[in-house]
């Protein structure tokens, strides 16, 4: 009967939503077991993490700040993945965005903030876009696997950052003093990201990130370009047949994806407490591995820009809580990175199951809608073969 069909349909649909949640819970459970193995009380650990991430105003603003680059990168990854392009180059795109925006801030004279801020943010986007366009073009026109080229460009970006911050962009004071710390001078104050409440550390970065997520949603589902991106993601062959310039769309997907990640680089520089760009020689020193952790957030958000917002705040909280965990129960915060890895593995490994539930729900709904006269448990032929 249709009513049972509909009930089954909605139950399966909810189950499909629950699968990623279950995967994350499983990963966190492994984390609890690891705490036990490390002779730390999981309860005390979880309490310390929760308080460290969400327990106070200060904690909440730390979480928001940590979530910001994750959200930017996550949104960028959503755009690329929807076009079936896998962008592992978030790290490099962050660095490229940070570098170009820093160079612009050093190069431009003192301009009022309402000119300066948009200029440096735009420069960040351009930097990231360039760093995304290279693998995009290589994939579209030369058939180079984008996973590999984006990873290689991460390596190139670190070296470029080290070169620029040790040489051309270094704070002249560092050379005078002979200390030669690879960092820029304190960048001009007109480019500082305004503080959200006039004081404290929380700046407008998280708001920009949320705007970017909303923008990506509108782009993907409310514009012709977004339709084309998603069409190419569904089937490149069918899209080509329909006259969509597939190569250009692939290039555009990685460029846009890089632009959003590059924006995060600018926000990291101009929202930093020292208001300068610093390198410790590694990418993670600048990005905090946001280029990778953003993938985790995007996956947990179901590769949907809007769902990536809460997902980023959750994982931002996890990272901030990790530091509290280290202080409270003396477990290195590297545990959080390991857990993030497990989250990725568990979410991706159960994705097949989630899709099957979703498709079953969709089929049940279609059956209920098109064949209302059908009685009992019978289903029309062709739709019956549910499970392999």
């Amino acid at each position: 009967m249709t009513s049972t069909g509909a009930a089954l349909d909605s139950r399966k649909r909810y189950l499909a939503y629950l699968v990623p949640m279950g995967a994350v819970s499983a990963a966190l459970l492994v984390g609890a077991v690891m705490l036990l193995l490390l002779d730390a009380s999981p309860l005390a650990g979880v309490k310390a993490m929760f308080n460290g991430a969400f327990g106070s105003r200060e904690a909440l603003s730390s979480t928001a700040l940590k979530a910001t680059p994750l959200l930017f990168v996550g949104v960028g990854i959503t755009i690329a993945f929807r076009a079936n392009v896998i962008n592992i180059g978030g790290e490099g795109q962050l660095v490229a965005g940070g570098l170009l925006s820093t160079a612009v801030a050093i190069g431009l004279p003192d301009l009022p903030a309402f000119v300066m801020l948009p200029a440096v943010l735009l420069a960040g986007m351009v930097g990231g876009a360039l760093w995304g366009a290279v693998p995009g073009a290589l994939k579209a026109y030369y058939g180079v696997n984008e996973i590999l080229s984006t990873i290689m460009l991460n390596v190139v970006a670190v070296q470029l950052m080290n070169f620029l911050l040790r040489g051309p962009l270094i704070d002249p004071g560092e050379i005078e003093r002979g200390t030669r710390i690879p960092q820029t001078e304190r960048l001009q104050a007109n480019a500082d990201l305004p503080l959200l409440f006039g004081s404290g550390r929380l700046h407008i970065g998280p708001l920009i990130a949320i705007l970017a997520a909303v923008g990506a949603y509108i782009l993907l589902w409310r514009t012709p370009l977004g339709y084309r991106l998603r069409a190419v993601g569904q089937s490149a062959d069918a899209s080509r047949y329909a006259g969509i310039p597939v190569k250009r769309i692939v290039l555009l997907a990685l460029t846009l994806s890089g632009a959003v990640a590059g924006l995060a680089g600018a926000v990291l520089v101009f929202g930093s407490e020292s208001h300068r760009m610093v390198t410790d020689g590694s990418t993670a020193g600048f990005t905090g591995s946001a280029g990778f952790n953003g993938i985790v957030a995007a996956l947990f958000g179901g590769l949907h820009p809007l769902w990536t917002i809460p997902a980023s705040f959750l994982f931002g909280g996890l990272l901030v809580g990790g530091n509290a965990l280290q202080r409270a129960v003396q477990v290195p915060s590297a545990l959080i990175l390991a857990l993030n890895g497990l989250v990725v593995v568990f979410v991706v490994a159960t994705d097949r199951y989630r899709k099957r539930l979703r498709d079953q729900a969709a089929r049940a709904a279609a059956t209920a809608a098109t064949v209302p006269a059908l009685v009992g448990n019978e289903r029309p032929p062709g739709l019956a073969g549910d499970d392999p």
Partner: protein, 310 residues
């Protein structure tokens, strides 16, 4: 520069290039098996890091480098099997699941190191082995035949891999499963079985590569591999999925790295430009990827999970 000095520098550069190539070579050979059977394992770097830590820790505790290598093998097998479960049985998207394994290995190796060791302590390295007779040949002897044992083992693995892939029934099954899993399945080859085997081989060799790297350097630190695992994956493409090609890529990478180091110490390039020079291996790899993509075809079923009847 005196002629004698130039000779010594040249020989040292080639010898150190060969040494630097070894971890990449071992990891790439392993990944070649997986990719020929149609599975892209992006978690190599994570497995290498955990292999490196366990190798380092085993040597630190026992003082025996072979126990260290064995620890790397053990970790590699375990993580290789886990990767096989994820990509073969659970049919996960291979472009992403490997990143999870990478992050897990990166975090976990750091966690274990901080917890079990704390401050870095140096360990014993592999014994040197001068091949009798050959090592006395002028120039060549010092370049090729005065290495530590692990270097020879790694290079012996190349012809062995070629033989397995090209000349054995198992190798034929690997290629069949990587090119056309449906056809292989229809004649009774277990696609899942073959892929479990290749991904586990890949994991094992990644674990060995990590342990070899840590023991060779005699040290462990956070993110010791510095993305070597990803470079190893790129080298498989670079080598067009053939062991000899992979070897060429690994050696090129080793030589370029050793040249950059040598230039830096000799002051041939100014210090400030050494970061630019350090980019060259990655840039060369990208260029090579372009060339390979034009000339060679990847295994047809690469990154495509296989489910009977789909």
């Amino acid at each position: 520069m005196s002629k004698f000095f130039a000779e010594a520098v040249l020989i040292a550069t080639v010898a150190s290039g060969i040494r630097l190539a070894v971890p990449l070579l071992v990891a790439s050979l392993g990944e070649t098996f997986g990719q020929r059977s149609g599975v892209l394992n992006l978690g190599v770097d994570g497995i290498m890091l955990l292999g490196a830590f366990s190798g380092y820790y085993a040597v630190l505790q026992s003082g025996n480098v072979w126990l260290g290598l064995l620890a790397g093998i053990g970790v590699g097998i375990a993580l290789g099997l886990a990767s096989a479960v994820i990509s073969v049985s659970l049919l996960a998207e291979q472009g992403i699941s490997g990143i999870g394994v990478y992050l897990f290995g990166l975090g976990m190796s750091d966690l274990l190191f901080q917890r079990l060791v704390g401050t870095p302590r140096p360990i014993k390295s592999f014994p040197k082995l001068d091949i009798p007779g050959l090592s006395d040949i002028p120039w060549v002897g010092r370049m090729l035949f005065r290495h530590s044992v692990i270097v020879y083992l790694a290079f012996v693995a190349i012809p062995f891999s070629m033989w397995v892939i090209n000349r054995t029934t198992f190798g034929m099954k690997i290629r069949a499963v990587g090119e056309n899993p449906e056809a292989a399945d229809s004649v009774g080859v277990s696609v899942a079985g073959v892929r479990y085997a290749t991904v586990t081989i890949g994991g094992t060799l990644a674990g060995v590569a990590g342990a070899a790297l840590a023991i060779d350097l005699g040290i462990f630190q956070q993110n010791l591999t510095n993305a070597a695992g990803f470079i190893a994956i790129a080298l498989v493409y670079f080598g067009a999925w053939r062991p000899l090609g992979v070897m060429a890529g690994a050696l090129l990478y080793g030589f370029v790295n050793s040249l950059v180091l040598q230039f830096k110490t000799l002051g041939i390039i100014p210090r400030s430009w050494s970061d630019i020079a350090a980019m060259s291996p990655a840039v060369i790899t990208i260029l090579a990827l372009v060339l390979v993509a034009r000339r060679f075809r990847q295994p047809a079923a690469l990154t495509k999970p296989f489910l009977r009847g789909e």
